[in-house]
Amino acid sequence: MAGSSIPLPGGVSEAEPHDRPSGLATVLETLHSWVITVDHKKIGILYILYSLLMFVVGGIEVLFIRLQLAAPGNHVVSPETYNQLFTMHGTTMIFFVAMPILFGIGNYLVPLMLGVRDMAFPRLNAFSLWMTVFGGLLLYYSFIGGSGLQGAGTAPDIGWFAYAPLSELAFSRGHSTDYWALALIVSGFGSIGTAINFIATIFSMRCRGMTLFRMPLLVWLYLVSSGLVILAVSPLTAAQFMLIIDRYLGGHFFDTQAGGSALVWVHFFWIFGHPEVYVLVMPAFGIASEIIPVFSRKAIFGYAAMVAASVAIGIVSISVWAHHMFTVGMSSVSNAFFTLSTMLVGIPTGIKIFNWLATLWGGKIRFGTPMLFSLAFLFQFLIAGLTGIMLSVAPFNWQLHNSYFVIAHFHYVIVGAILFMIFAGFYYWYPKVTGRMLSERLGKLHFWLFLIGFHVTFDFMHIPGILGMPRSIYTYEADRGWGTWNLIVSIGAFIQAIAIAIFVYNLIVSYFRGDEAGPDPWDAWTLEWTTSSPPPSYNFQTDPVVSSRRPLWDLKHPEDPDSFD
């Protein structure tokens, strides 16, 4: 029987320097240390700060979209600008907010949870971060350089999925589409690098006693997510190279005039696009699987089933992509296959939801802000899954394809499930990262306002979809009967914006005035809570040794250590 030895928190902070001389030189030195850093915690924080900046940018873009759609026949922005807004909103939110923020959280937590000092390849880690940042800069530089500096101001306007042949040179002159493709290639390299790093860290860098089945579930879910990045982002990168070959070298991959096929792009894009949803949702599952047990005061129910279900979702998710393409006219066999494979995802997902519910069952539930977001996540993710199963039925999909029903469905996943869990993660781990608690009062205000805003927006967004409102339209006539619904949706969007402003205010104010957190404010069980808050650059003063899934529980309850394995 292996033993556990874990350094007690507290002693390490003395090793940190306390006196900091002030002045410009120090500011520059600090800045320099952040730019050249290869420390997984600093890189994680940089990822998160960068994502928050992009989140505000992408959020402002969507507020303009909602203003434009709030009433029929509106002219808040020009049609050309409108096309750029929804393209940039989608691209920004997926590639430069959701992915980097989850990579940032993982970067920070995975080595700490595994009880090691850093990721497997720290320099590759820094490289990945700066590639992602550079990708975002390239995308937004298109606002200046998109049509060659003379005709400044053409961001990409081809939709976030950039269907060929609209993205080909014949239909998209200038360089805006080039910036889009290059930005995704560059940030794609960063994503693949990060995924390689996570996988190598998880397989090769665990502390003594940390077998694969003693890893926290969050680490397991980052493993699955990274596997999906490898399988999904690589094809996107390949397809972007084809697009660049078409646009710069006169190639014909997606050039229908020369025998090329626009449909091939659609396939390649969704071979990336669908697993991408799971790339994003897996870490959200991971965060839920850490917070729900701690706030229910119970070990997670069905650990092995959770791992198996996660891996199963990962595997099934790479064979469902054409459910985005029912209207292109596939054979009945293909339609049936993609309907069934999509429905199959519901089974392991259901297992996960029941396991979370069973974890809550009989627990001593504490309704802290992280838990509130997690409970809302459970409810909203269920609804998002149910509309997903509705849309997987080919004949139903033919009716609602590319309508606002679809927009409502995937925003229910990305906002209602993923963003809610990102917020939960912020409230849960902010004390670890900064050493101070986020304000619970502001946190609850943020939660309730955001919850109301979310439901006002996305519950009602289903209805204009069912009434026939297609996505990506600039405006609509009053006699369509979509006006009231769109006004409600737009009001909800602004409520969400206010909630997010409160959240950002909370992040800033609590950094200076929050309560001291101490190493373990939630009475939790995983290794990151054994070291000081914030952890020293070397994480643990001595290498931890673990003998169960909840090493900190063992430490606190030596009379009743976890015996299950």
Binding site: I6, G11, I192, I196, T201, I230, P235, G251, S261, L555
Partner: protein, 197 residues
């Protein structure tokens, strides 16, 4: 700094796989996905060019070239074993031969492309075949170039006496990449020169 031991400290070995090897295998998975997309595009577009030249008119089987590249997989294995044996002279010779074989392969590809461009008038923008052919073969050749640069760096380290048997893990990781580049060529060869003709 205090520690708490719950039970007797572990005496069992704690062994995890080498991180370079795991990382390289993961990279190879990612690269496989990239090549799969290009191969699928190639296969899908076989015979769909609206204008000539067509593959059967201009492509010749690069048998000799293939033999050179595939045998470099064997020479690199012999070099690895020499490193384990600390036979640095043999290592340099076999490693150098691997690089030479790779260079000959690249030269063969260059000659083939030169002939296709100047004699047959096939460029990447001529037709769909040209687009898919130059992309797929070029993607592979790019990987050969990257591999050769890394092999060359190892050779420089070795010749200057900075390479030691303790670096075997790293050398093996690089060799894994080189084997992958060779294996991809087998697929490219089959698809482009056998099925596609």
């Amino acid at each position: 700094m205090s520690t708490v031991s719950i039970q007797a400290p572990s005496t069992t070995d704690w062994h995890l796989p080498y991180k370079g090897r795991v990382g390289m295998f993961t990279l190879i998975f990612a690269e496989t996905a990239v090549f799969t997309i290009f191969v699928v595009a190639y296969v899908y577009y076989i015979g769909r060019s609206l204008s000539g030249p067509m593959p059967r008119d201009v492509l010749e089987l690069p048998i000799l070239n293939t033999v050179f590249l595939l045998s470099s997989s064997i020479t690199i294995m012999i070099a690895e074993r020499a490193l384990v044996r600390r036979a640095m002279g043999a290592f340099n010779a076999w490693w150098g031969l691997t690089i030479l074989l790779g260079l000959i392969f690249l030269f063969g590809t260059a000659r083939e492309w030169h002939k296709l461009i100047t004699v047959d008038g096939l460029t990447i923008s001529t037709n769909l075949f040209g687009t898919t052919y130059y992309s797929l073969v070029g993607l592979h050749a790019t990987h050969v170039v990257v591999g050769l640069i890394m092999l060359l760096i190892v050779l420089i380290f070795s010749v200057t006496g900075s390479l030691h048997p303790k670096h075997t893990d790293r050398v093996e990781t690089l060799a894994l990449y080189w084997h992958f580049v060779d294996a991809v060529w087998v697929v490219v060869f089959t698809v482009v020169y056998v099925l596609g003709r």
